[in-house]
């Protein structure tokens, strides 16, 4: 199976571990991702806040390049473009959908593209998220057949975030409020999947840069939810979610007086480990919160002594509403 591949800016560096691990996993599963040559940024959630047509033209250049490069020759699935980042996935599929819906928008965009010698015919690219491709095209059975080191005993909170499940501009592959495909994938790898009621709630996106307190509260809720269900780690499918929950975990602890130390890994990193790959081969070690103590449970890392979290005085009481508790959960 061969697909067009749109990595997006985050996967080039900040979420390099996602790129490394997904490529390693794809090789194991016989899937080939052909990167769209000379792609540009999708604009994240910023470009569209400043410009209208320029934002749609920015994304459409990628669609035009993808349509030309995934034209069914060289064995690539025609027009199938895989995006592993939630924001890229949303922007590409949203613009494609709106171009198909609005001839006026499509004509404006094509007028702009013509200035660069490009054009795009609405409907020629189908944008897919990586998770969709791995569970629906490759399938759970084929994944199960590759497992060499089952993740037995590892308690995983599956975190989907917003944009992969909502609003489904080009169709849905999972429930928008309570998705389960990642749960099933993690079970296929042998992990214990904890209930995670906030699994499709927002990590705050760029909010850490707009209003720190608002953002840290959104992140705190997710960490608390995973901790309440005694998850060893949270697995994610989005670079922004990974960055917020991982790099800002210490800030959350500072603001709320909590002591969370929950590693945040990409789902493809756990797939790679379950396939028997080494932690280095799937980019383990770039996370802020050390994943080694949790990975020692599955024999994928030496049991490093977890650093004692610095004791803090709570600066602010926990004023949040209580979340559902399940103290005696059956395994």
């Amino acid at each position: 199976m061969r697909y067009g591949y749109y990595p997006g800016c985050s996967l080039e560096r900040n979420a390099g571990a996602y790129h490394t691990s997904l490529m390693a996993v794809a090789a194991q599963l016989g899937v080939e991702f052909a990167e769209v040559d000379d792609w540009n940024c999708c604009g994240a959630t910023e470009f569209i806040a400043v410009n209208r047509l320029r934002a749609y033209a920015l994304v459409s250049r990628n669609l035009a390049l993808a349509a030309r490069q995934t034209n069914g020759s060289n064995g690539a699935a025609k027009g199938q473009l895989v995006a592993p980042c939630s924001a890229c996935y949303l922007n590409l599929s949203k613009v494609e959908h709106y171009l198909s819906q609005s001839p006026a928008l499509a004509s404006g965009v094509n007028n702009a593209l013509a200035a660069g010698g490009l054009s795009y015919e609405p409907g020629s690219v189908r944008v897919r998220h990586l998770l969709d491709v791995l569970v629906n095209d490759v399938g759970y059975e084929k994944v199960a057949a590759r497992v060499r080191r089952p993740l037995h005993g590892l308690r995983v909170a599956p975190y989907y975030g917003c944009l992969v499940v909502r609003p489904g501009f080009q169709g849905r592959f999972d429930d928008p409020e309570y998705p389960t495909s990642l749960d099933r994938l993690m079970r296929t790898l042998g992990a214990t999947v904890v209930d995670f009621p906030l699994k499709a709630h927002c990590c705050g996106g760029h909010m850490t840069q707009i209003s720190r307190d608002v953002a840290l509260e959104l992140i705190r809720r997710l960490l608390k939810n995973a901790a309440d269900y005694q998850a060893d780690m949270i697995v994610t499918l989005c670079p922004m979610c990974q960055l917020n929950l991982d790099a800002f975990q210490e800030s959350v602890n500072g603001l709320f007086g909590t002591e969370y130390r929950i590693p945040i890994l990409f789902f493809t990193q756990l797939m790679g480990l379950a396939f028997g790959l080494s932690p280095a081969a799937v980019g383990i070690g770039k996370e802020f919160v050390d994943a080694r103590p949790a990975l020692a449970k599955i024999g994928a890392a030496a049991p490093a002594a977890a650093e004692a979290a610095p004791k803090r005085k709570p600066r602010r009481g926990d004023q949040s509403l209580p979340l559902p508790q399940m103290p005696e959960e059956e395994l």
Binding site: C9, E12, R13, N14, A15, G16, D38, W39, N40, C41, G43, A44, T45, E46, F47, A49, V50, N51, R52, L53, R54, Y56, A57, L58, R61, Y98, S102, L105, G108, V109, N111, A112, L113, A114, A115, G116, L118, C162, L163, R166, P167, P176, E177, H201, C202, G204, G205, H206, M207, Q209, I210, S211, R212, V214, L218, A247, F248, S251, K286, F288
Partner: protein, 195 residues
């Protein structure tokens, strides 16, 4: 679909918002049910919930709407749009209001004054390089818009650098001239549309 009678009851500002949206947001269909605000993760921190904001738009309260932090506190999670019984494109309305606030020169006077600066700095980087450049984005955003907060971000920046999660220089795309030509043309078309 709204009838012409119901549309005639709306304000000029309402019609302006609808015309500025990329595709029709169906804003006239709002029932004022409040599902949007109830679903919004940052709703409690907004000046006005989305429901209240839509009522204000219909009432023509241009100034209060464009100064509000509501659009800037929207995290684009699409819960409201998913749950809206009238299928209003709420997230698009929020983006539209951000653009209108910037265009009308309100962006520095909104109750979320840091947000437009972040969006604009991000856009400038993408227009120059074709891709996001996080180190440059954060450095320039903090130095130009929030110099006093720059120190707070330093540990995070160092942590990212130590883990090789930040590029020290941008990675421009090869055909940046092509992208610039496309974006320039789009700007001209948009300008013609708005006048």
């Amino acid at each position: 679909m709204a009838t012409s009678a119901s549309l005639s009851r709306t304000s000029d500002f309402f019609r302006e918002v609808v015309a500025e949206a990329p595709v029709d947001p169906h804003l006239e269909a709002c029932l004022q049910c409040g599902t949007c605000g109830g679903s919004c993760p940052s709703g409690p921190d907004m000046d006005h919930t989305p429901r209240a904001l839509f009522a204000m738009i219909a009432a023509g309260m241009r100034d209060a709407v464009l100064r509000s932090n509501t659009p800037w506190y929207c995290v684009s999670c699409y819960y409201c749009m998913e749950r809206c019984p009238q299928e209003i494109r709420i997230t698009d309305v929020m983006y539209t209001l951000k653009r209108m606030a910037i265009k009308a020169g309100y962006s520095a006077q909104t109750t979320a004054p840091k947000a437009p600066g972040f969006a604009q700095t991000f856009v400038d980087h993408v227009e120059n390089y074709g891709r996001s450049f996080e180190l440059g984005l954060i450095t320039r955003y903090y130095l130009s818009h929030r110099p006093l907060d720059a120190l707070k971000m330093a540990p995070l920046g160092m942590g990212l650098l130590k883990r090789k999660r930040l590029d020290l220089s941008p990675r421009p795309i090869r055909q940046i001239d092509q992208l610039k030509a496309i974006l320039d043309r789009a700007r001209e078309i948009d300008a013609a549309h708005s006048t």
